[in-house]
């Protein structure tokens, strides 16, 4: 016997759908964290979990508790607002720290922005000097 709250059918199905969506998106983001190759690529992946995954799980929680208590329960919005505000701040700080460490060690040139090949000088090799 699997414990689950006693909801009417529409609320149970909606909650199940949103929980599965949120968990699947979070798993996708974490797998991206596991599989991408560079740090600056890996920073992007978990934000799938912190935006869409969190929002879907919180919507499921709002539906579940609002139906259970027969009144609107919206305190989950606190978590949504907090995560939405704090994730960019912490990740910007983290990426700036990582870029600082790479610049100190002198291997930041592999990660810096590079003009598309149409704008670059055609004769320049990939090992062009970008010491500016």
């Amino acid at each position: 016997m699997i414990a689950s709250p006693d909801l009417p059918a529409w609320a149970a199905l909606l909650t199940a759908l949103f929980v599965l969506l949120g968990a699947g998106l979070t798993l996708t983001g974490s797998l991206g964290l596991l599989r991408l190759r560079q740090f600056y690529e890996r920073v992007h992946a978990p934000t799938l979990g912190t935006t869409l995954g969190t929002v879907f799980v919180l919507i499921a929680s709002i539906i579940c508790f609002s139906v259970l208590q027969t009144r609107p329960v919206v305190h989950e919005i606190l978590i949504a607002v907090f995560i939405t505000v704090t994730t960019p701040v912490s990740l910007i700080l983290l990426v700036r720290a990582a870029l600082f460490r790479d610049r100190v060690e002198g291997n930041a040139r592999n990660f810096e922005w590079r003009a598309p090949s149409s704008e670059r000088n055609v004769t320049s090799a990939p090992t062009e000097d970008r010491s500016s």
Partner: protein, 93 residues
């Protein structure tokens, strides 16, 4: 019937979130550099917060919500403090 569907989908969601936490923990253990480990920790606490929310839906009590809120706040402070440490070598200047 719909209760059964909800119960099984909660089980599947919890397994998915546990796998996501395992991926983040693997990145913490394996991560080539310190910033990878900090990023793994950031992902780990968000996944743990979502797992607590699914436990809250399953049990029908709002106690888990407060635990999730506390985890979210402490995780933000943790990531900022570790980033400051990576940047400067000390947390409080």
């Amino acid at each position: 019937m719909s209760t059964l569907v909800l119960g099984w989908s909660l089980v599947i969601a919890q397994v998915m979130l546990a796998l996501a936490m395992a991926a983040a923990a693997f990145r913490i253990i394996r991560g080539p550099r310190a910033q990878d480990r900090v990023l793994g920790l950031d992902t780990l606490y968000v996944n743990a917060m979502l797992l607590l929310l699914t436990f809250g839906i399953r049990s029908g009590s709002t106690l888990y919500f407060e635990a999730a809120l506390v985890i979210a706040m402490i995780g933000f402070v943790t990531t900022v403090a570790l980033s400051k440490f990576l940047m400067r070598g000390e947390v409080i200047e």
